[in-house]
């Protein structure tokens, strides 16, 4: 066999190619079974891009259901908390044209967190039941409080509160959240770099 192969280079090349093809084919087949992704990977990927505010403004009871709906062909512009950025990311992922946010579902707003005016809270636990991310702490008849780091600002606790003691306050205010904006997005320019033209010429 070996002798025959070395005599016939064309046959040798063909055998080698076929052999390689078979090996890699088997490998790929094995990998496809061994490393198969559970569930529907596209809806997982979509869910990873959604903001997870879990507010239901999209018309679905949370981000995951909406991600599944998008995977099944629903339009990508129904999530106001995600806004244009999320629509763009979804359009890139699904390779479709981005559309403007569907105003029917709401408008893009600055991120907020819920704040309970604790001395007015009667401890009814209604907000705890409404909160999709368990961000409210409290027990029956004692005052409740919101864990600001966990609150998504979904708005769902506002309506159930019988004494209206929950406010939504801006989440990203103050100096720690500030960062420079692109020069073209900025009204005034404070560029300082470099010294004057005269000395610069001299340098």
């Amino acid at each position: 066999m070996l002798a025959m192969l070395s005599d016939q280079p064309l046959l040798a090349a063909l055998t080698a190619l076929l052999g390689l093809g078979a090996t890699f084919g088997a490998l790929l087949g094995f990998a496809a079974i061994r490393f198969r992704v559970e569930g529907n990977p596209i809806s997982e990927q979509i869910n990873a891009l959604l903001p997870q505010t879990q507010c239901g403004q999209c018309g679905y009871p949370g981000c995951r259901p909406y991600s599944e709906a998008i995977a099944d062909g629903d339009s990508i512009n129904k999530c106001p908390p995600g806004g244009e950025e999320t629509i763009q990311a979804l359009a890139d992922l699904l390779d479709v044209e981005p559309q403007p946010l569907d105003a029917e579902h709401g408008v893009e707003k600055e991120p907020v967190v819920a704040w309970i005016r604790e001395d007015e809270c009667i401890g009814c636990t209604k907000c705890i039941q409404a909160c999709p991310v368990d961000a409210i702490l409290g027990a029956a008849k004692v005052m409740h409080t919101v864990i600001a780091d966990e609150c998504t600002g979904c708005d769902l606790c506002i309506e159930p509160c019988p004494v209206d003691c929950i406010d939504l306050i801006p989440r990203k205010e103050g100096i720690s959240f500030w960062h420079w904006s692109l020069p073209e997005d900025r009204a005034s320019r404070y560029d300082v770099i470099a010294t004057d033209a005269a000395t610069r010429d001299a340098a």
């Binding site: 991310v133 100096i175 010294t195 005269a198």
Partner: protein
Amino acid sequence: MRTIHDIHGGIHPPERKALSRPGDLQNAPIPPVLVLPVRQHLGVPALPIVAVGDTVLGGQVLAEAQGVMSVPVHAPSSGTVVAIESRPIAHASGLADQCIVIQTDGEDHWLAFEGVTSWRERDPATLVERIREAGIAGLGGAGFPTAVKLSPGPTRPIETLLVNGTECEPYITADDTLMQCRADELVEGAHILAHILSADSILIGIEDNKPDAIARVQAAISRAGVDVELATFPTKYPSGGEKQIIEILTGQQVPSGGIPADIGIVCVNPGTAVATQQAIVDGKPLTHRIVTLTGEALAAPQNVTACLGTPITQLLEHAELSVDGQQRIIHGGPMMGFAVSDLNAPITKITNCLLAPTATELPLPDPAQPCIRCGHCAEACPASLLPQQLYWYARAKDQEQLAEHRLFDCIECGACAYVCPSQIPLVQYYRAAKGQIRDSEQEKRRSDNSRERFEARQARLEAETAAREAKRAARKAAAQSQAAENGSDPIQEAIERAKARKAEQEANP
């Protein structure tokens, strides 16, 4: 003799350092009102522990550190706390932040301090604690809490303590002045830091445009009779970047995304070394710093030791600012600084320079022109980046490509913007892009967390429903098995009972 290595790129802008007469140090007057921001460092703001109406002494703690990435704030003179409120601070955003306001009484009474001269016998951990309590944050400009820097962890053994006396930015002479006037403290401070880090060697690096500082530090080293190496190297901007000076003096590169401690080096500003010496040997907290007041709009440019919290306008007045209403006042230097929007803002631990140029000295830049792809920016970049590409990707908000092109290795030195013939404010693009990326990362962490919590809750609700179902099923099963045991069927019995009742009713209407 140490081999001096060259770094990529760099520029030679006019130095303008003589203007502020380095080496001549004056005390700035104590202002009638001190405004002390609770955040003068990088990290978590300190928490005020005084109340309005309290009288305080110099050196007294006004606000306590909140956790590790935080440092306390002390009173720089005696007086009364008159407000704890949001005030304008010197920040590129022009935003206000919480400040403790003290009306000084002019007496300048101080707490008594207790230092330790025998620091060599002290345990490093206690010394680090003292440094933290003294409120020391990097005085070079970033304000990184020094105690954190001094705790690199057991996985990063430190060989060298490097004192960065480069001060490469034009105009600024605060470190130069400090090295000239506080050379002995500097050398001892460096020793304390090396002792804390168990570093084998101490290296002080000074650019060769500061001959007086070099001579004085050399003399101080001889006086102390200790083993400290003083290295000088050619002047070039920005040799003072932490990664840059390390490469110049050791030839080693700090890995991208890493810190100097990864290669066994801790790098501090000379001001930080002096503040350490004062904190340990004198027991004195950080309440003052040296500030360069310079620029042609000042009739008396100089270096002063000023109370932290002194309003900028007071210092400019002290240096005889001739107001024409036109000029910008710059916090920091002409390359990396920013224009201050409210001159009532105070100086802080990170204020090394206040620059008051005339409008001809530092004119507003002309509007940016399109990039002509000349490549000058890449030649100038000390971090060997491709500034032009970074600029395009920053405009396109392409975070992937920005990461690919190592945006976070950019030290925001402005060398690229300085050489750009189109006057494109390149650094502003990089700062904005970095901010956006940090923002999205934070949002990503938040949303991942929310997803987990949402799903945990869904699972819990499902489990609760399932548990209820299971209970119902269990009750049913129990009833049935009981029936089987008694040899009778409860349902059948109930039907029988009902039938009997009905029959009874029919029998006696």
